[in-house]
């Protein structure tokens, strides 16, 4: 959920002006925001599954330190989504285990 109105920071005037594709689904995002923020705004919380036990993981630190939030982005695995900014047309996939490299589209 986005914080549209804020008592201190005022109104958020940015517009959802780009589209990203997450596991095949189109999602609106704001240019310049991290992928993790766009996913969280869309209510997506599971970013990857762990290699051995297939357990879900999501954002933990949000500043690029813990690597819990890594996903496969444009075919490249292990991208920290909390510090990687969205671009129009980006293709993002929930990462299974260590992920696989794939030709980017």
């Amino acid at each position: 959920m986005r914080v549209k109105h804020h008592p201190i920071l005022g109104e958020d005037k940015r517009k959802e002006n780009v589209t990203i594709v997450v596991d095949g689904k189109k999602i609106k995002a704001i240019e310049g925001e991290p992928i993790a923020a766009a996913l969280m705004a869309a209510g997506i919380r599971v970013f990857r599954k762990t290699p051995k036990k297939n357990q879900p993981r999501g954002v933990f630190c949000a500043i690029g330190r813990c690597t819990d939030c890594v996903m496969t982005v444009n075919g490249i695995p292990n991208v920290r989504t909390c510090v990687t900014l969205v671009e129009d047309g980006m293709v993002i996939e929930t990462q299974k285990g260590l992920g696989k490299w794939r030709e980017s589209r």
């Binding site: 986005r2 008592p7 923020a37 969280m40 919380r45 879900p56 933990f60 500043i63 690029g64 909390c82």
Partner: protein
């Protein structure tokens, strides 16, 4: 290889303040940060700061950040963003990554201001999506303007736990419980009072036993603790929630100081292993300074003062200030720092810092 007079690693409040001092003295500064934007943790701090007028008390953190950026720009500080530093080699050669490539820059002096990272807490379910650092939630709501959840449990009652709880309320979420394992609230009472007035219950002598949920957080079981911090049977409570925020302290981000070969001390009240330093913030390696959370967890106001100290001392060592000029400037900063480190909350840190500085001559660890 690129060269610079003073390289500062980390553009948080400590690094920015240090850069301003060096540049003001006429030094040439390169500031490196791994982020897209400078400011470190300062831009997520939307509350009004404590302190006195000299500390800009009553001003919101992000506005102080805006002023620091303005000053660094005016003074012509070079800022390299998206540039994580991965090591410090011999002769002060700094290795960093930029545009996916390894680069190097050599400096005459280095100031480390890399800040801290949030501690995690282990309990069943602690890795479920929806369990996150309180600082992470703060980053999400105040910088990216996205709510991590609607019903939130906060773990830890230090100032970060209290402040972030308040800011979650301001962003429109409900904080349905704040739990603290100790018998008393750790942070400032005035911060606690704010969230109590907004209806947030604070459970002291409680801990989180387990977080439940299939793919993400659906609730948590909290349990009361006796004087020996043992769970008391029968006090378990199941609380429905979609997010659990962890605010159980920070640890200095000291890898670069290790790599550079600094001597360390273990000081629990400062957050763990910190590089030893003297009253100039100079470490055991000549010409290498450290400031901010890296040298002990405090808050942004003290991080800025430490940055100023390091900057002034660094300028002095380069001959940009005379001994007398530097002494006067440093004394003023020390007076402000000591003011921040008074009272029951600050005294412990002041004592620890004094010991740390004494240790530059001594050697033994403090317990």
């Amino acid at each position: 290889m690129k060269k610079t007079q003073v390289a500062i690693i980390g553009a948080g409040p400590a690094g920015l303040a240090a850069a301003i001092e060096v540049a003001r003295a006429g030094g040439e500064v390169t500031l490196l940060d791994e982020n897209h934007k400078p400011g470190g943790q300062l831009f997520k701090q939307i509350h009004k700061f404590f302190g006195s007028r000299e500390h800009r008390a009553g001003t919101r953190g992000f506005r102080i950040g805006e002023k620091l950026l303005e000053d660094t720009e005016k003074l012509g500080v070079k800022v390299l963003l998206d540039s994580p530093v991965y090591s410090i080699f011999k002769d002060f050669v700094i290795g960093y990554i930029s545009d996916g490539r390894e680069k190097a820059i050599q400096a005459e002096r280095i100031i480390l201001a890399t800040g801290a990272s949030e501690n995690a807490l282990a309990f069943p379910g602690c890795t479920l999506p929806g369990v996150m650092g309180a600082g992470a939630a703060q980053t999400m709501i105040n910088v990216h303007r996205v709510l991590p959840g609607k019903k939130i449990i906060m773990v830890g009652s230090g100032n970060v736990g209290l402040i972030v709880s308040y800011q979650l309320l301001q962003a429109g979420a409900d904080v349905i419980a704040l739990i603290e394992a100790a018998a008393e609230i750790g942070g400032y009472g005035v911060h606690a009072s704010k969230i109590r007035r907004a209806g947030v219950p604070i459970y002291t002598s409680y801990t989180i036993q387990e977080v439940i949920g299939k793919n993400s957080v659906e609730g948590a079981v909290i349990v009361g603790l006796d004087e020996k911090w043992k769970p008391i049977k029968g006090t378990e409570k199941l609380i429905e929630a979609d997010t659990v925020c962890i605010a159980v302290g920070l640890s200095p981000l000291a890898e670069l100081a290790w790599l550079a070969g600094c001597e360390f001390a273990f000081v629990p009240s400062l957050g763990g292993h910190v590089p030893k330093h003297d009253r100039n913030m100079e470490t055991t390696i000549k010409g290498l300074y450290a400031a901010g959370d890296l040298t002990g967890i405090e808050e942004a106001s003290s991080a800025m003062e430490e940055g100023r100290l390091a900057g002034i001392a660094c300028a002095e060592s380069l001959g940009l200030y005379s001994k007398e000029e530097a002494r006067d400037l440093k004394e003023k900063v020390w007076a402000r720092l000591n003011t921040l480190r008074t009272g029951p909350f600050g005294k412990k840190r002041r004592d620890a810092k004094d010991k740390l500085i004494e240790m530059m001559e001594g050697g033994a660890d403090i317990g």
